[in-house]
């Protein structure tokens, strides 16, 4: 039976990109549907009635929501190829812990960089860099977060890279100057086709953010 895989997504969404990377890593064929978040499709509202958000993976008619839950789902269904989570339970716990840390800390701090000004923006930049530095510390000298293989935690973080150019421009700072090892890691990830083909173009993200700022009046 052929699998039907549909991804409801938004081009610039770091969360959506995580799913794109995971699908690409596993070589899964799927139908990509871009959602206009100001005019959500009936399908999105039906498949994610609670949050009405992207990404949503629809596999043979059944929805899976929340990006990290989707990535784990993909890893469990298509388990014979390119494992995304390590096999050891402790390593898996570490990957989940840090992915949770990213979700809890990075997104909010980063959002404030482009939605605020002055002192508030400075505080946001500081917090953002602090979070990245903690992650950089976790990376250490390893090629990828869990060691030799690209996986779950790399996927959780790399998709924010598309937004770095926007943050740097609007926040007037250099992320590479503060976290050079993390940027090296990002460039290493980008050498993988699954990543380079899935990440949104940073200029397009910047244009999107500029538009958002106008419409939000910030």
């Amino acid at each position: 039976m052929a699998d039907e895989v549909i991804l409801l997504d938004g081009y610039v969404s770091s969360f959506g990109m995580r799913v794109r990377v995971a699908l690409a890593e596993k070589g899964i064929r799927y139908e990509y549907r871009e959602e206009d978040l100001r005019n959500k499709s009936q399908l999105l509202l039906k498949m994610n009635p609670i949050h009405k958000k992207i990404p949503v993976l629809i596999h043979n008619g059944k929805p899976v929501c929340e990006s990290l839950i989707i990535v784990q789902y993909i890893d469990e269904v298509w388990k014979d190829k390119a494992p995304l989570l390590p096999s050891d339970p402790y390593q898996r716990a570490q990957a989940r812990f840090w992915a949770d840390f990213i979700d809890k800390k990075l997104y909010d701090a980063s959002r404030k960089i482009w939605t605020t000004k002055g002192e508030e923006q400075e505080a946001a930049k500081k917090e953002f860099i602090e979070v990245l530095k903690v992650l950089e510390g976790e990376l250490g000298d390893k090629p990828y977060f869990m060691g030799e293989r690209f996986g779950f935690l790399d996927i959780a973080l790399i998709t924010f890279y598309s937004w770095f150019h926007a943050f740097e421009t609007l926040g007037n700072f250099s992320i590479e100057a503060e976290c050079p090892k993390l940027i090296s890691w990002a460039k290493r990830c980008l050498q993988k086709e699954s990543v380079s083909k899935s990440l949104a173009d940073q200029k397009k993200v910047y244009e999107f953010v500029v538009e958002m700022k106008k419409s939000l009046g910030v």
Binding site: E66, I69, P89, Y90, R92, A93, R96
Partner: protein, 230 residues
């Protein structure tokens, strides 16, 4: 035999007597019949060992296993599930697993904060908070259709994650003089609360109700005082 005793060796749970997050770990370990030592923490005076085991968040619960530590209750639950495979909390089916994880996350990110908001309010503000909380609870009610537990016939991952609703939520309602999960509006959820609260293992491990009431009374008083006057 050696592997089994290696797994059994040195499991430590850092907790407080009242933490509803730590309680999840107590339930999971006991449901799987895993032997462990408990270290009760005073969060106003955290032990060096806790700070060593959870340097990032410095919170409880933390699970120590053979000298390594795992933090964040839902991450710990997954670790326990993968390390001790008896009495599984998650289905083998990937879609059902994804659904269970979804409800656990929904509980923590939406249900809990909305009930906590209502708890820390009074008057009109509380009324509005209750309306919001009920909107979230509606989804849980629907999910329980045709099921005894969120996990189906047996207690599962989502039940453990949402389990605080079966006792702590009652405490919140009592302390804040509010009714959120009414029997007529939420018959399935009300029934689930009773069934879960009375289930073996769960039943024996609730913290003392009167102590919880006192504790949350104190929280509420402080939180109400700290709110800016409208």
């Amino acid at each position: 035999m050696e592997t089994h005793s290696k797994k059994m060796a040195e499991v430590k749970l850092f907790r407080t007597w009242s933490s509803r997050f730590a309680l999840r770990i107590v339930w999971a370990l006991k449901l799987k019949d895993v032997q462990y030592d408990t270290i009760f923490e005073d969060l106003s005076n955290k032990s060096p060992l806790l700070l060593q085991y959870n340097p990032v968040h410095k919170k409880v619960p933390v699970l120590g296993h053979n000298g390594k530590s795992v933090a964040e209750s839902l991450v710990i639950l997954e670790y326990i599930e993968e390390t001790w495979k008896q009495n599984p909390l998650l289905s083998e089916d990937p879609h059902e697993r994804a659904v269970a994880r979804f409800w656990a996350k929904f509980g923590d990110e939406k249900v809990l904060p909305s009930i906590w908001e209502a708890f820390n309010s009074e008057g009109k503000e509380q009324e509005e908070g209750i309306v919001k909380a009920k909107e979230n609870l509606k989804y849980l009610e629907e999910e329980l259709k045709g099921k005894k537990f969120f996990g189906g016939e047996h207690i599962g991952f989502a039940d453990i994650a949402l389990g605080w609703l079966a006792e702590y939520e009652n405490v919140f309602e009592e302390v804040a003089s509010m009714k959120v999960i009414a029997e007529d509006e939420f018959p399935l959820l009300s029934e689930w609360k009773r069934t879960f609260a009375d289930a073996p293992i769960i039943k024996e491990n609730w913290p003392p109700r009167d102590k919880l009431v006192t504790r949350y009374q104190a929280f509420r008083e402080t939180n109400l005082l700290n709110k800016a006057p409208k």
